[in-house]
C-alpha cells in the first residue's frame, strides 16, 4: 500500500474546508477549550444552524494556543477567508452565526483575526503580537486541522517525511536528524540523532522505542495540546524513529490525567492500522512495527526514563542508576530509546522539510523551535512555539502581553520542579538550553509560569519542595529525606520560624542533593530553593529576620484588619468568613478577631471595591503599613 492514492482524497477533504461550497465552522475543542465551555458552544452552533436552516459543516479542531480567549470558533464562508472568533459563549456564537451567515456581517468586534490577510477590518491572525514572533513546527497543525481526521493531516503534508525516510537507509535517516541539530525536547537536551545512533548500534533484539508523554511538570501542557491537536505528527515521528533504530515495538507512555489525548491517540493509531501504517511490511518497505499505549498512574518520577521503563514493565516506578543506559539495556534488558512527544513531532517535520530547513531556526547550539506553555500571572496564557534564542522579554511582554492588573513582573519559573526562578532583571536572557542552565534554571519540557509582585518567592520554593517531597520515589536517601528536610526548613521560614543558619543549610544540602541524588528529580529538587535564594535573598532575609512577607502570601506573616472609617457594615465579609472571626452589627464597622482568623483572605476578596475597607498587614510589628496595595 502506498499513500499517493490517499493524497488526492485528502486534498479534496481539506479543500472542502478551506475553499468550501457551504459554510464551515471549526470549534477549538482541546481540553482547554472544553474547560472554557467549547462543548456548550458547539451545541449552540448545531442548534443555531438547525434553527436558521443553514447547511454547514461543523468540525472540532485542536488548540491554536490562544487559551486565554477560548472558546475559539473559526468560520469559513464560501468565498471568504477563515476567520477566528474568540471568547465565544453559546449566546454569542448564535448571534455571530446569524449575523455572519445570514446577514453577511462578519462581526469584526468578535473576531480575533483572519487566516491570511487582514479583511473586513479584522487583523491578520498571524500578524497579531501573540502570533507574529512564533514559528510553528511541532504545532504546525494544532488548531488548524481536525485531529481526528487523518485526511486533514495527510493533506497538510503528513506522512511525506515517513515515505521519504523509508526510502532511505536507517543510518541516513539518523544522519539527517543529527544534522538538523534536534535535541531532546523533554528537558535534558541530549542530541536526538546521537541517541538514536547509540540505540541503532546497540546489540540486542528486539529493540523498543518509547514516546514519553508523561508530561509531569506542573505548569507544562505542550504535550497534551500537541497530542490532542495533531496526534499523527507525533506518530509519524515515532514510525520514522522505529525505522531508523530498527525497533519492532513502540510504546506511548501517557499520563492517565489526559483522557482526551489518549482518546485521540487511540483513534489515530487505529487509522494508521487501517491503512497499513502499522503492522507488517509498512508501506511495502519490509519494515514491521507496532505500537501500543501504556497509561501512567500518577507518578511524576516516571518521566525519568529508567523509572518509566520500570513502570511499563509493571514495577514500582523507581529509577535505577545509569549506566547501563537504556540504549544498551532498557525494557526487558533490550536496547530502548525514549523520546519526548515534541521531539517526535519535530522529527516528522524534519523528515518532511529537511534538516537544513530546521536548523535554520534557533541558535548555534540550540536549533529549531521550542514550545512553551505560558501560565500564571500573564495576560495571554496559552501555548506558543518560538525559535530558540528568543528573549524572555519578547515572550512575556510581546507574545504574552505582559502582566495583568498593572502589577509588576517578579520572576519567571521555568523547568518545572527541577527548574528555577529567573528574576525580572534577567528578561533579556535568550531562551535556549545553555542560557537557562547558566541562569540556574532549566528549559525543561517548556513550562513557563509567570510570577508577579503578589507571589512570595520563599512560598514558591516551598510549594515546589512540597511537590517534590510527595513525588520523590523514595529510593535514594538525598531525595527522599533531603526534600523533606528542605521542605521543613522552608515551611519554617514561611511561618516566621526561620533562622539565619537556614540559608547556608539549604544551600549546602542543596548542593549535596544535586550531586548525590540518583535521578533528575532529586538532583533538581533543590533548584527552586537555590535559585530563589540566589536572586531573591532579601525576601528570605525579611522572612527570617523581620517576619515579613513582602508579597503578603505567607499566611503566618500577615493579618487582615478592617479600617473602621471605610467600613459600612454591609456584612458581606462577615458571611464570607469561614472561621467566624468577623463580628459587627449591620451598618456599623466590623472587627476581625485575630485569634480566630485563619488568614484566608476571603474578607479582602469580597469587600466591595468602593469601600476597600479590608487591608492586609504584616502580622508582627505595628499594624500600620498595608503590605499590599489596594
Amino acid at each position: 500500500m502506498n499513500l499517493s492514492g490517499l493524497r488526492e482524497q485528502a486534498n479534496n477533504a481539506w479543500k472542502a474546508v478551506n475553499e468550501p461550497s457551504r459554510p464551515q465552522v471549526l470549534v477549538g475543542q482541546a481540553t482547554c477549550g472544553e474547560a472554557s465551555g467549547a462543548g456548550e458552544v458547539n451545541h449552540s452552533i448545531l442548534e443555531t444552524l438547525k434553527r436558521l436552516g443553514i447547511e454547514a459543516d461543523v468540525h472540532s479542531v485542536g488548540c491554536i494556543g490562544a487559551c486565554y480567549c477560548e472558546p475559539l470558533v473559526d468560520i469559513v464562508k464560501p468565498g471568504a477567508p477563515r476567520i477566528c472568533y474568540h471568547s465565544m459563549t453559546p449566546a454569542l456564537v448564535s448571534e455571530l452565526l446569524e449575523d455572519y451567515l445570514v446577514k453577511d456581517n462578519p462581526r469584526p468586534d468578535l473576531a480575533l483575526g483572519v487566516w491570511g490577510e487582514s479583511r473586513f477590518g479584522i487583523p491578520a491572525l498571524f500578524e497579531l503580537p501573540m502570533f507574529k514572533p512564533q514559528m510553528r513546527i511541532a504545532l504546525r497543525n494544532a488548531g488548524v486541522i481536525d485531529p481526528e481526521n487523518m485526511m486533514h493531516y495527510i493533506a497538510r503534508g503528513g506522512y511525506t517525511g515517513l515515505e521519504r525516510a523509508l526510502k532511505m537507509a536507517p543510518e541516513a535517516v539518523i544522519a539527517e536528524i543529527e544534522k538538523s541539530g534536534l535535541r531532546g525536547r523533554g528537558g535534558a537536551g541530549f542530541s536526538t540523532g546521537l541517541k538514536w545512533k547509540l540505540c541503532r548500534q546497540a546489540k540486542g533484539s528486539p529493540k523498543y522505542i518509547i514516546c514519553n508523554a508523561d508530561e509531569g511538570d506542573p505548569g507544562a501542557f505542550m504535550d497534551r495540546d500537541l497530542l490532542e491537536s495533531d496526534p499523527h505528527a507525533v506518530l509519524e515521528g515515532i514510525l520514522t524513529g522505529a525505522h531508523a533504530m530498527g525497533a519492532a515495538e513502540g510504546i506511548i507512555y501517557i499520563r492517565a490525567e489526559y483522557p482526551l489525548a489518549i482518546k485521540r491517540l487511540v483513534k489515530a493509531i487505529s487509522q494508521m492500522r487501517d491503512i497499513g501504517l502499522l503492522g507488517k511490511n509498512i508501506l511495502g518497505s519490509g519494515f514491521d512495527f507496532d505500537l501500543r499505549i501504556v497509561m501512567g498512574a500518577g507518578a511524576f518520577v516516571c518521566g525519568e526514563e529508567t523509572a518509566m521503563m520500570n513502570s511499563i514493565m509493571g514495577r514500582r516506578g523507581t529509577p535505577r542508576p545509569r549506566p547501563p543506559f537504556p540504549a544498551e539495556s532498557g525494557l526487558w534488558g533490550k536496547p530502548t530509546s525514549i523520546n519526548n512527544v515534541e521531539t517526535w513531532a519535530c522529527v516528522s517535520a524534519i523528515m518532511e522539510k529537511g534538516a537544513d530547513w530546521f536548523s535554520s531556526f534557533g541558535t548555534e547550539k540550540s536549533k529549531g523551535t521550542k514550545t512553551f506553555s505560558l501560565a500564571g500571572k500573564i495576560n495571554r496564557t496559552g501555548l506558543i512555539e518560538v525559535p530558540m534564542g528568543i528573549t524572555l522579554q519578547e515572550i512575556i511582554f510581546g507574545i504574552g502581553g505582559g502582566i495583568p492588573g498593572g502589577k509588576s513582573l517578579k520572576a519567571v519559573q521555568t523547568g518545572g520542579p527541577s527548574g528555577g526562578c529567573i528574576p525580572a532583571s534577567m528578561l533579556s536572557l535568550p531562551v535556549d538550553y545553555e542560557a537557562l542552565t547558566k541562569a540556574g534554571s532549566y528549559i525543561g519540557s517548556g513550562g513557563m509560569i509567570v510570577l508577579d509582585e503578589d507571589n512570595c518567592m520563599v512560598e514558591t520554593a516551598r510549594y515546589f519542595l512540597s511537590f517534590t517531597t510527595s513525588e520523590s520515589c523514595g529510593k535514594c536517601v538525598p531525595c527522599r529525606l533531603g526534600t523533606r528536610q528542605l521542605l521543613t526548613i522552608l515551611t519554617d521560614i514561611t511561618q516566621g520560624k526561620g533562622k539565619p543558619q537556614d540559608i547556608p543549610a539549604i544551600l549546602g544540602l542543596g548542593k549535596s542533593m544535586r550531586q548525590g541524588s540518583l535521578c533528575g528529580l532529586g538532583q533538581g529538587a533543590p533548584n527552586p530553593a537555590m535559585t530563589t535564594i540566589a536572586y531573591f535573598r532579601e525576601e528570605y532575609d525579611e522572612h527570617i529576620n523581620s517576619h515579613v512577607c513582602r508579597a503578603g502570601e505567607c499566611r503566618a506573616l500577615i493579618s487582615y484588619t478592617i479600617i473602621a472609617e471605610r467600613c459600612k457594615g454591609c456584612a458581606i465579609c462577615l458571611r464570607a468568613c469561614p472561621s467566624a472571626a468577623i463580628t459587627g452589627e449591620k451598618g456599623k464597622p466590623h472587627v476581625i478577631d485575630i485569634s480566630k482568623c485563619s488568614q484566608c483572605g476571603n474578607c479582602l476578596d469580597v469587600c466591595p471595591k468602593k469601600f476597600n475597607a479590608v487591608v492586609k498587614v504584616p502580622a508582627a510589628g505595628p499594624a500600620a503599613v498595608p503590605a499590599a496595595k489596594g
Binding site: 482547554c32 456548550e40 501542557f221 501504556v294 511537590f467
Partner: protein
C-alpha cells in the same frame, strides 16, 4: 469478583499487564479492593505484596471506595500561583471533607492531583470527567451543583 475475572481474562499473564489491570479495576469499581490485588497477583504470577507495593507507588490508585462524584482539584504550579489553595479550602468547606476523603453520604470524593495540564485556564477543577477553568472561590458551589 466476576468483574475482576472478566478484566483478567482480557489480559496476558504477564507482569507488564499489571498496571493496566489495576487501571481497569479502578475504572469499574472506583477503587482497588484487596481481592482484586490478590487476583491480579495470581494472574500475572506475582505475590500480593508485590502488587500492593506497585499499586501504592502510584497516586492514581485508590484503596477505599469512592463517592459517586469525584472532585479533583489541581495543585499544579499555575493553579498554585493563581490561588488554588483557596479553591481547595472552599471545596473542603462546601463538601465538609478533606483532600483524600469521601463524604459520609457517599456522594463526593475529593482529591488533589499534581497537574491537570490546563494551566492556561488556572485554577482548574475537574468534576467527574468535566474540566472547569478559571475557577473562583465564589464559583465552587455552583460547579459542585453541576452548573457552569
Amino acid at each position: 469478583m466476576q468483574q475482576i475475572s472478566d478484566i483478567l481474562s482480557f489480559h496476558r499473564a504477564d507482569r507488564s499487564d499489571l498496571i493496566p489491570i489495576l487501571h481497569e479495576v479502578q475504572s469499574r469499581l472506583g477503587y482497588i479492593p484487596p481481592e482484586a490485588m490478590q487476583a491480579a497477583a495470581d494472574h500475572v504470577g506475582m505475590s500480593a505484596s508485590e502488587v500492593y507495593g506497585v499499586a501504592t507507588f502510584y497516586s492514581a490508585f485508590k484503596f477505599k471506595p469512592v463517592g459517586r462524584h469525584c472532585v479533583k482539584a489541581c495543585r499544579g504550579t499555575a493553579c498554585h500561583v493563581k490561588g488554588s489553595e483557596k479553591i481547595l479550602a472552599e471545596i473542603e468547606k462546601a463538601l465538609g471533607i478533606k483532600d483524600g476523603d469521601t463524604s459520609a453520604d457517599g456522594e463526593y470524593s475529593l482529591e488533589t492531583v499534581a497537574c491537570l495540564g490546563s494551566c492556561a485556564l488556572a485554577p482548574v477543577l475537574v468534576v467527574d470527567e468535566r474540566v472547569y477553568g478559571r475557577v473562583t472561590p465564589a464559583r465552587v458551589k455552583s460547579i459542585l451543583r453541576g452548573e457552569r
